[in-house]
């Protein structure tokens, strides 16, 4: 229905009897609440893009890399102190673990040849590039050490490879801490002071656990002591990190995986020291608990980081605090 009458002479006249003039029905009722931007963020959306890494690949890689590196060091130490069976077990474990970590890495990349893309450059600004070269140096030595130990051939080459892998091992076990800390993910980045020690401790505990599980108890003394040292270092580093991070530690404190990891590591290490020498079954159980504990810790750290990336408050609030602090200091001057 038209509101104007158009007449033959072409002029138009607005009807006067229009009923629905704007505002004639009184004030409009407020529309039902729609999605309102939350104060302090854009509709509660994360500021960061979620890491595309899959937990099974990357958290698994963190665990296996740590296990491999620390096992190689344990193997070298065992070989040099005359514990051949512990050395052989640790070397075999290291080879399996580095194989598994390579599989995880390549599964994450999609195709094996994509690993080669990373051998084009060496960049100290990229922990992944540094890690690629560490793995390239470490993998063949770990493989050679295990192969010579299992076949009994070329003992001199085997010893050189064992020592080489044992020296590179700690770097392989700890560089992954720099890998995840060198991101904008708040819980990972801000924890960079303690993360390498947490990872080193967790790796030592896992390697100790593997030694207890696979080597006879009379040779597994270093494994038991490494597990105890490692579990203690892991828990101390985690505690310190949670204290230092303040509100940002919430995802870490909430994580059941991290609590389970700490409990399993400590229980395994203490059980190993107390009963591992006397009972093969106890040593095996303690070793399994240590391995599970280390895996739980790595998956817990991974999940906590993802959680902190997906909630904008963990990105925005620390930055706000930093800005206010800087402003307050400027005002004082």
């Amino acid at each position: 229905m038209s509101q104007t009458d158009v007449r033959l002479d072409g002029s138009a006249e607005v009807r006067t009897e229009r009923e629905a003039t704007p505002g004639s029905a009184g004030p409009r009722p407020l529309r039902p609440a729609t999605a309102q931007p939350e104060p302090g963020s854009y509709y509660g959306r994360p500021v960061l893009n979620e890491p595309t890494w899959q937990a099974a690949d990357i958290a698994g890689y963190l665990f296996l890399g740590g296990l491999a590196g620390a096992s190689s060091t344990l193997a070298a130490a065992a070989e040099l102190t005359g514990r051949p069976r512990l050395a052989r077990a640790a070397k075999t474990g290291a080879l399996c673990a580095v194989g598994g970590s390579l599989y995880s890495l390549i599964h994450d990349l999609g195709r094996p040849e994509r690993f080669v893309n990373m051998l084009r450059v060496f960049k100290v600004t990229s922990p992944m590039s540094v890690g690629t070269w560490l793995l390239t140096a470490y993998g063949p030595q770990a493989g050679c050490a295990a192969a010579t130990a299992l076949t009994g051939r070329l003992p001199r080459l085997g010893r050189a490879a064992t020592i080489g892998a044992g020296l590179v091992g700690p770097a392989v076990a700890t560089y992954t801490a720099a890998l995840i800390c060198d991101t904008a993910v708040p819980a990972w980045h801000e924890g960079y002071r303690e993360m390498p020690f947490l990872f080193a401790g967790s790796a030592a505990a896992a390697a100790g656990g593997l030694g207890m599980l696979a080597a006879p108890p009379d040779e597994a003394g270093p494994a038991r002591r490494a597990a105890l040292l490692g579990a203690a270092a892991e828990c101390a580093a985690a505690l310190r990190m949670e204290r230092r991070l303040g509100p940002l530690a919430e995802p870490l404190k909430r994580s059941r995986l991290l609590r389970a990891g700490e409990a399993l590591s400590l229980a395994g290490a203490l059980a190993g020291i107390a009963f591992g020498r006397r009972s093969r079954v106890a040593a095996g159980a303690a070793g399994a608990a240590l391995l599970a504990g280390s895996a739980c810790t790595r998956f817990g750290i991974f999940r906590a980081g993802m959680e902190s990336a997906n909630d904008p408050k963990y990105t925005i609030q620390p930055q706000r605090r930093r800005l206010s602090r800087a402003r307050a200091e400027r005002d004082l001057q």
């Binding site: 450059v121 960049k123 960079y192 390697a207």
Partner: protein, 306 residues
Amino acid sequence: MAFDLDEAIGAGRVGFFTDTSVCIGCKACEVACKEWNAVPEDGLTFTGMSYDNTVGLGADTWRHVAFIEQRRPLGHQEPGLNDQDFRWLMASDVCKHCTHAACLDVCPTGSLFRTEYGTVVVQEDVCNGCGYCVPACPFGVIGKRERAGGGTAAKCTMCYDRLGAGEEPACAKTCPTDSIQFGDLEELRERAERRLEQVRASGVTSARLYGHDTGDGVGGMGAFFLLLDEPEVYGLPPDPVVTTRDLPAMWRHTATAALALLAGMAAAAWLRRPGTASTAGASTTADSTTAALRAWAGTAISRRRA
């Protein structure tokens, strides 16, 4: 501070100045970007977030127009909603092409590189899809485009191909209100200062520049903004810092931890050697004590070095 944080970006650096005070939320920039760069579809979902169904930047979204509805006055403007105050903030977000770009620093293949225009671009054929750049970006810009056989990272190139031909990027070219301005970065910064004064003088006291300061945590952004509210309201981090700024400290802590692991393992093995543990004579006790002391000293020295 080592690393390529000190990298000097030569003269002729170009950039975007996005003046959100004149953005009308038409999304022509989103469309032009998709069309020019043949960016795939990025999900057709209804979000209920005002007029924004694009949600945020990612592998398949290189321009994103944010819509924020606020019950607050915009300068001296009358919203025409009886006595209600209302303002609509719109802003077209894009890759910041940071001076210190975390994505570029952490890329393990060299796929991400700095162009002759001072922009940051992904080379798709070099990228191996490791995804490290995605959590490295403090703005949540870059994403990984999944496809069969493994994805690759993707983000705004500031229309690298158009720059080479002397053209401005597609989004800036199409912007009907000149909210997106492209040009020499130095000149844009001066223009932005003048515009900020003008907007503030007209009563919008909440206006501020974001990303123009070369002293900020990313060394200044190649794409910066005039905003009318706090950055986080638009989904931008208030004080972004390039993660690699702390990398030297991370490496120091990592090296210390690695040495401690080595020392700890040595101590665990040499503290008690086989055959001597049960018959702990005076000499072996002394041996193991020296070994323990050595291991402890090693840790202490490495700590001090850190």
